[in-house]
Amino acid sequence: MMVGQAMRDQQRELTVFRSRLMLSGLAILVAFGLLFARFMWLQVVQQSYYHTLAEQNRISVVPVVPNRGLILDRNGLVLAANYSAYTLEVTPSRVANVEHAIDELAHVVDVTPRDRRRFRKLMEESKNFESLPIRTRLSEEEVARFAVNRFRFPGFEIKARPFRSYPQGELASHAVGYIGRINDADVKRIEAAGLTTNYKGTDHIGKLGIEGAYEKELHGVTGSEQVEIDAGGRAIRSLSRNEPVSGNNLVMTLDLKLQKIAEDAFGDYKGGLVAIDPRNGEVLALVSRPGFDPNLFVDGIDPQSWDALNNSPDKPLNNRALRGQYPPGSTIKPFMALAALEYKKRSPEYTIADPGWFTLPGVAHRYGDWKKGGHGMVNMHKAIEQSCDTYFYGLANDMGIDLIHDFLTRFGFGSRTGIDIDGELPGLAPSQEWKQQRFHQKWYAGDTVSVGIGQGYMLATPLQLATATAILANGGRIVHPHLLKAIQDAKTREMHPAVLPPEDDHPAVKPENLALVRDAMVDVTKPGGTAVVAFANAPYAVAAKTGSAQVVGMKQGEKYDERRMKKEHWDNALFIAFAPADDPKIAVGVMVENGQHGGSTAAPIARKMFDYYLLGKEPPQAEKALPKPDESAPADAEEEHD
């Protein structure tokens, strides 16, 4: 009985087991059916969709950055060039502890404190997923050493990249400008110009000078390449390529040797200088001293160098040629004289007896002449030749400020010349209206008297002085100073001359008046003139005018005594000149800060330039000091100025 029960139980258990096993089998079939359906859905129905996604995953279109155009001087000397070098780049988002990783890296390749500082600054300025250079210009050996250790540095990559270099270093840096890494403001400008696509892959953009102003020409057209990438974004192989178009080469109007002579001639003086070809407005030299090394900016300047440049009392980053607004001092006198002739306020013969000072009717204040005791009997010619202040005080007073303003404006004073690089300041040609607007004050007769000798409210940039001088030189034709001579098409190698604003052939002044002033200016460089020493034995005729302008105001009767003053309060020295006087080929405006006397510090600079430009004579030290463009090995350019 018990056995039978057990048998039945066993039988029942077996039946239950079998049915449940069958059920499991069914469930398994259903489950595999479900999987099959899923495979069908993914691999048959949705296949093309997933195929597209897979292709998008693996194919990446990467930009191919064009070579930036070269910048050359008028004789073909290279001012800005490219070279290819290895950089070691880091994507911070892919590295857990960047500082630590760089410490490790320093065992493999050299990482200087300066590299670190620069990198830290870059990191602050950029987004974490961007690839940033920690080291540039790696040697072949360093590249090899890194390659061996590469597995230790995820997120670090060696890249071959084109670099900008400025083989001339400081020379002409204010005219050439520099490129720097694209910042947020640049991105906005690029977006506004609709150039976002063309700047894909481009890290750098022209910031200043020619580099900034002709960015569009220099950049070129970005190409593209389809590459197969892996999940880490590394390119595995190229699938197709659309070549980029290099940027156009720019030929500048600068004569690099002339520029070098001018910069050297400044010595340790600060100041600005512009030399213009009066026939066409080509800027032959554009000097702002002290200069800076544009190579420092190419890969993001490190904070220390930046602070040094930015906080220096000498303000090396300030382009004095365009942005230095100084009282023109006596260099304004030829223009004043011309104004008086044009407006018939003075005849050439009009003569005064100079007691050494000038007073306004009914006012006791004496406006002193630089020469104690005065110049004796003075007509216009002598007034220019000897720079007689008294003569011009009276002249200005008789003309009145508004006539002066109108006339000076015709020579470009008080407004931007429109030179083709950014940052120019307008200077100031004051008028009654201006003073009312600016200070809500009435114009006083005394204000006009100061303007008569280029002091008071009057301000001009070296560029304006040079431009106005060029107009004097070329017979009164307006010139448009410019730095671009021609654009060389990257593809065809054809030269396209720079497009200039239409020239106004109508002279600004009567030729006979101009001739009179020019004759007087020529005598400035002759015995009896204020620039005779600087131009002794010059085999060409030079028309010039010296000037010096107070940096600080002087009280009545106070005597200017350089020995009792700080150097930065010494007078600025000015000089304008053009030569040869009868057929001018070059006009300059020179401003030497705290140079005191135009004749002794500013004029010799012009002399050296004229000697070279007109006679081909080079100062002995200049020849060997000028770096040859072929030896512009970029490797040293940076270290030199470190």
Partner: protein
Amino acid sequence: MISRAFELLSRRIDGPLAAALALTISLGLAVVYSASAASMDRTFGQVRNLAIAAIAMWLFAQVHPRVLMQLALPTYIAGLGLLVGVALFGEIRNGARRWLNLGFTTIQPSEVMKIAVPLVLAWYFHRREEGLRLRDFVIAALILVIPVGLIARQPDLGTALLIFASGFFVIFLAGLSWKVLVSLVAAGAAAAPFVWSFLHDYQRQRVLTLLDPSQDPLGAGYHIIQSTIAIGSGGILGKGWLNGTQAQLDFVPERSTDFILAVFGEEFGLVGNIVLMVLYLLIIARGMMITANASTVFARLTAGAITLAFFTYAFVNMGMVTGILPVVGVPLPMVSYGGTALLSILAGFGILMSISTHKQLVAS
């Protein structure tokens, strides 16, 4: 002489099962080679794993089911002890306490339980052959839930679920009444929100990501998105061996282990997937036949549980890689690279073979 040796070696080996396993394993090796970027080192590593697992299978096949039954309880108790040891002294790797350092080697005791739990449950029901009562099922449930709970706490949700499944299969096949079953499911559904609150964040994330992988395309959803792209882009015929772009360009994560099906599906297409499913079904079908013909309760329940557990491994992995099940970290049986899972699976098949080849002796 040679034929005698062969006879001795193959005496306890089930021919059809061994053939199906060999085919699947060969296919798996080819995929491992491709998934490891044609690395011979890794492929040979897998061959070594296979050799060890095959020896284990052969050894288990030699052991009489009766001996296994005798070993079931001691093994289970030892395994439980090790699990407690893990909970107390275990090593933490990747945020989970799963390993126990025994001085000479580190082991993962949960792997032992994959075999020990179904064995001990089968042993229990075998002993209770004469009329099962509800009390027996309660005890069985306890035997099951204690190790599963310990493993889930490590946390190792995938393994816990798989062990629970294999133990549950034993209980189910032993004849747990439908009434209890249905009420358990109902209770489970009711407890789901409660369980949810006990899940670790990463486990919740996995469930949420499963529901909508696009929520977190770079994090948790990345695996599923890339694996479905890989499989889907494979199409009907696949991109060809070693030619899967998703796989070879590193887009599929964990491509030689848990997500190896994505590599396989991309390179061999729908056709490959069907072949793989057919192979799995053949293995399962053979396992069911052995189960159906087993002569004792212990043998039946053990064989059934092993077969169904194998199915579960395959289904859960394929479901997870194709995006219809949560990502729980289960390898694709006999294809994924890795020794431990292979060892426990082939050991299980060794037991199946033992049951298959020893039944005549038992019957007589």
